[in-house]
Subunit: 424 residues, 2 copies
């Protein structure tokens, strides 16, 4: 087998055989296929595509490059959720303990933010003491204690994907549905969950800008999960505006705790409950209703156990940014548009995100929303508050927001429905 | 400017701006754009193409990455030829001194063989003492003495092309007409020749397998040369069967000397004379007729001066392989097919070519043809002789030849005409 043969097969629009895929992914992981060879192959895959069988083979080869987790020692089914990433998307934080409180185990390996979208681990790390890195044994302990665990993926899980993801990031080969789908699903299948709900975001703040592309990605991932024996369902959900009213690490933790306390913004509550029901149904668990678990304190109890089991202090004060700046409404009317990407970019520039993997994030930085699209606003009233550790960051955040919102005399904003579609 | 922006522009079928091209080629040469980024870009170029303006810009950026030669100190016009490579294509050897004998200077930077096609420098190095590496000053000296010089390109000429060529070789991105054309033409334009004749080979033994692809490459290169002020003409010529009767380094030198002595195989003589006339016409030189110069010894004199000026001994015995093996005709009839690629592959496996750039070649190894397509052959009579330094090589050469020739009862073979088309 030879890397050039594999590259040329895909370049000429051929179908990669299972042997070619197993060999090239394995040899790349071992360093026998060079980075420049894999990047040429990734570009050929991006431009010429892969069929269902090739994507399944590619995903399996990435799983086979590392270890696979096993939760068969647990006495109840496992369920997980994966979001393709958005602005203000803190749903994992209330969702994982909520589903645990309703009777399924949630073993979630999560990631960090890069670019304008936040990362669940960065958010949880704003809780003093909380620790993201756990051994598989420690994960099992947290699961038994709290019913849910959210932690960083160890290096042994799908190492091929880890290597390929870094390569795609610098070679303009990220935006390939076969490569995105296999990257996500290889980690989720290797994670060993029995059922999986995918939250595929659509809109300016999401990776997939159109419903068509999002549907294609969702369908590909549902097929991959199903073929691998994981009960998989996908929802396409709105990311044309931010989720909730808080964007930024500690700000989103605080909002999540509000939801777990039975309050919080309507869209965050609605999506959390909807995803919880999907996860419980996929896991075949019909215990407590999620809406009840948010009201009766059992979801909050699970949250506290989960944070404490990972050495976090759920009662500690969260970090706050040193500086704030209020953006006021320039006119009276209806907030007809508040662009998710503009708000995400502003939060990133305020310090909530990182430009390079090795950069730190500011836990307190971000944006809070005083109005959501469709709300009436009054000229001069607060529209957004910006949070940053240095006032010097406000200018670039404001320029990110320029053109990112509109106030109309009295129009009904045309927004995507919160849940656009369901693919099973 | 950012490598990912450039890659994504081409990936999305956009047109690269002159600024993008200058930046990416320059930064790649300086090592600021990584190999894996350039290979992704090369694959995107291969699959999505470049327009005439982009190819011209790319070529110019590669020329600008290094030095440019200048022959204005010479008192007569310069002319060069470039072949895209074939099996038994030793034409440069008789052609360069022939054109010099007819009144134009020939400053040719040449290359080594890789794969099944031979390289002019490897052939000339089979002449004892001959030296391929010359400084520009030494080149000028040889030109003044002999009228023609054939030597290796120094590292200062189009270093971007040198780096990119090695990368394309291992990443399945060789077969792109814009990249092939800009690679060839950047070196030929930087070489400083005033006029250029391109011999674009077509057929199984050539890089371009079809007349259509060869015409596209030829047209692209003629446009590039013309736009850069080099009078450029291309011939499309046959490479469905080998050129001449000798394939292999020293074997081809011997055949070239036969041509310079007024003999040699008809196809080699015809193509040499045709190319010489094109070069002289492009250079605007109307001195001696090439057919006369082959008969009256003046081309041979130029050859001897050229070899001696580069420290070679034109009278030395050429290296011979230690072992030979005769392949006989399996039946009587007409040799209806003798596949160029099969013969080239056999010669390569006999030791005439190299698998990796750093491998040595065997000067004596190769194949001699006792019949050419269209010739009558008798069962049991010699068809080919294989030459190698070890008998162990014969088996693999024979398997390369299996199916590579056919003997028909009495048919007219369907061969490409020697000169298929002319593009000016």
């Amino acid at each position: 087998m030879d890397a050039i043969d594999v590259i040329v097969t895909k370049r000429e629009r051929g179908t990669l055989s299972r042997e070619q895929i197993d060999w090239v992914v394995g040899a790349y992981t071992r360093g026998e296929v060079a980075e420049e060879q894999m990047s040429a192959l990734a570009m050929a895959i991006l431009l010429n595509g892969m069929d269902r069988g090739e994507i399944a083979g590619w995903t399996q080869a990435m799983i086979d490059s590392g270890e696979r987790m096993d939760w068969s020692a647990l006495d109840r089914p496992t369920a997980d959720k994966h979001s393709t990433g958005g602005v203000g998307d803190k749903i994992t934080l209330p969702l994982a303990p909520l589903v645990a409180a309703c009777g399924a185990y949630v073993p979630q390996l999560s990631g960090r933010g890069l670019g304008h979208t936040g990362g669940t681990l960065d958010k949880l790390e704003s809780i003093p003491g909380w620790r993201a890195s756990l051994s598989q044994e420690e994960m099992l302990g947290v699961l038994r204690t709290a019913g849910a665990v959210v932690c960083a993926a160890g290096g042994g899980l799908a190492p091929a994907d880890r290597k390929l993801y870094s390569l795609r990031d610098v070679t303009g080969t990220v935006e390939s549905i076969p490569l995105i789908a296999s990257s996500i699903m290889s980690k989720k299948i290797a994670e060993g969950t029995g059922s999986l709900v995918l939250d595929v975001k659509v809109g300016s703040g999401a990776f997939m800008k159109t419903v068509e592309r999002a549907r294609e990605l969702a369908t590909t991932m549902v097929e991959l999960g199903t073929d691998a024996g994981v009960r998989t369902v996908a929802l396409l959900t709105a990311m044309d505006r931010p989720l909730g009213r808080a964007v930024g690490n500690a700000l989103e933790v605080a909002e999540s705790v509000e939801v777990l306390a039975g309050g919080g913004p309507a869209d965050v509550v609605e999506l959390t409950v909807r995803l919880a029901r999907e996860m419980l149904a996929a896991a075949g668990v019909s215990g407590k209703d999620p809406e009840v678990a948010l009201k009766d304190g059992s979801a909050m109890d699970a949250w506290r156990r989960m944070i404490i089991a990972q050495e976090g202090d759920p009662d500690a004060l969260l970090p706050r940014a040193a500086e704030t700046m209020v953006v006021t409404a320039p006119a009276s009317g209806v907030l007809s548009r508040l662009d998710a990407y503009a708000v995400g970019l502003a939060a990133w520039r305020l310090g909530a995100g990182r430009a390079r993997k090795e950069d730190p994030v500011s836990f307190g930085a971000g944006v809070t929303l005083h109005a959501k699209p469709g709300d009436l606003v009054r000229a001069g009233a607060p529209l957004l508050t910006l949070h940053a550790d240095e006032t010097a960051r406000f200018d670039r955040a404001l320029s990110a927001l320029a053109g990112g919102y509109e106030i109309a005399p009295a129009s009904d904003p045309t927004l995507l429905p919160l849940v656009i579609d369901r693919i099973a």
